[in-house]
């Protein structure tokens, strides 16, 4: 069976519940769907908004490649990734990852693997708007070491 991931860059807020429902529909041989939703934090007022810039056609292709790696590595039946771009307010969903597999372990691990990649290496440029102005953010050491767990 050839499995290809669905990768979407979304400029507008999305509703994670609707994505889970759609992803779970019409499955006869899927024993496990694991999902992850990342939300924008307010950082106790320090982050009024996040701004995420993507390079359409490049960013989604790079995410698609890593999703394909996850499909092969964890023998997944399906993957759906939605990533926000543009201005994101605290409480809004930034990222949605869903992985379908025959059994739960592969689905859990695939979500974990995909998120470590997305947080540290995916081609986005992130700016945090706070009370003191705006600043560009780079991956934290923790993001980098999390991603290295899978190398």
């Amino acid at each position: 069976m050839i499995v290809t991931a669905t990768v979407t860059l979304a400029e507008q807020p999305f509703e994670p519940g609707a994505l889970v429902t759609a992803f779970c529909a019409n499955r006869q041989e899927t024993g496990a769907v694991a999902t992850f939703v990342g939300l924008a934090r307010a950082e106790k007022g320090a982050a009024a908004a996040l701004e995420l810039e993507a390079y359409p056609g490049f960013t989604d292709a790079a995410i698609g490649e890593i999703a394909q790696t996850a499909i092969d590595r964890f023998r997944l039946q399906d993957v759906h990734i939605v990533h926000r771009t543009g201005r994101i307010l605290p409480g809004e969903a930034i990222v949605f990852v869903a992985a379908a597999a025959g059994h739960r372990r592969e689905a859990f691990e695939a979500c974990d693997f995909l998120m470590d990649y997305l947080k540290s290496r995916a081609p986005f440029w992130k700016k945090e708007h706070g009370p003191g102005g705006a600043r560009w953010i780079e991956p934290t050491d923790r993001d980098r070491t999390d991603a290295e767990r899978w190398d």
Binding site: E53, G57, L118, A122, W125, E138
Partner: protein
Amino acid sequence: MARVLLFGRLADQAGWRDRLIEADDLAALRGALAANDPALGEALAAPGVQVAVDKAIVRGEAALTAATEVAFLPPMSGG
């Protein structure tokens, strides 16, 4: 001629993110950008800045044709 795209802090620094520039190869393009804005030329040559030609990362030189898209990518933040 190439369509040049800047991302992240490079676009902030330059004050633009999308511009058509006359150049036959990457070296000439870098030269034209640096002649127009020396600080930007330096920033584009800094370690950690990657170049994508038609959405594929290029290390080293590349010829540019009329419809080529050249993107300068500062270190990526992740999502």
